[in-house]
Amino acid sequence: MSKETSDKGSKTHVIKRDDGWAVKGEGASKARKVYDTKERAIYESSRLLKPGDELVIHKKNGAIDSIKSKK
């Protein structure tokens, strides 16, 4: 299995944290921001997507909820 990285733009994740939902670039050492709600994290991070970028939205258990991209 090859490591699946986007060969287009960047990949950002919305990940559950104990204090909310973090928006984090893949491989970044720190989260860009932690929001109180998942909906807010998705909304704010979606606004910053550039063409080719992917937003990976995770469930509380780490599995994938959905993947958004901007064409």
Binding site: M1, E4, H13, R17, D18, G27, G62, I64
Partner: protein, 203 residues
């Protein structure tokens, strides 16, 4: 597989528990340990108890999750396999010599002090409560290895983030191969472990 790097996992195998088991497997691999679990191989001709005994004798460390021993509805039989296997493991340490005396146990529960209500024979002062939360489980596993003497540089949040990245990679790869979301979430344990291995090798 070295005794000192093996971790026997005694846990339920129902679908609901996968949310806790998968982060346990990932965290163990991330920290350089080998999970040993009864369903790592399926052989209908093999006596399950023999397999359990073999696994716990090959593992210096054990994680015993007793969070599912409580009956959920009237008339349900209590689930005794997990406490039974904990007893076998404790006996292995107590009645054997040499390396088995170094065995260490982590006992998990989902509600604080719940285990003590049904199993008061042993003092479970160090029973850790995961609240059925996957992220908390990662923190518990990582911190336990620190408590038993290992040096772990990465904080729990970094391991949790990597678990999420791993799951993302797995999802994308398997989707391309034609797996449905349900099939990806229900991958056999061995296939899941192989995928973890590959991900960690690319770090």
């Amino acid at each position: 597989m070295a005794f000192s790097r093996n971790v026997f996992i005694n846990c339920p195998f129902d679908k609901e528990y996968q949310d806790i088991l998968k982060p346990i497997l990932f965290t163990l691999k991330y920290l350089g340990f080998t999970p040993r679990i009864a369903n790592e191989r399926f052989d209908s001709g093999e006596v399950r108890l023999d397999k359990i005994e073999e696994l716990l004798m090959e593992s210096q460390f054990s994680i015993h999750d007793l969070s599912r021993i409580k009956a959920k509805y009237l008339g349900e039989y209590f689930r005794l396999n997990m406490p039974f296997e904990l007893g076998l493991d404790l006996g292995c340490k107590k009645y054997h010599e040499n390396k088995f005396r170094k065995k260490k146990f982590l006992i998990l529960e989902s509600e604080k002090y719940a285990v003590q209500k049904g199993l008061s024979d042993l003092s479970f002062g160090d029973c850790k409560c995961h609240n059925n939360d996957p992220e908390t489980t990662v923190t518990i596993i990582r911190n336990w290895f620190v408590e038993v003497g290992f040096v772990v540089d990465d904080p729990p949040s970094k391991i949790w983030d990597h678990f999420n990245y791993f799951y993302s990679n797995l999802f994308i790869k398997k989707k391309k191969e034609g797996f449905s979301k349900k099939e990806i979430e229900e991958l056999p344990i061995l296939e899941f472990l192989d995928a973890i291995n590959y991900y960690l090798n690319t770090l």
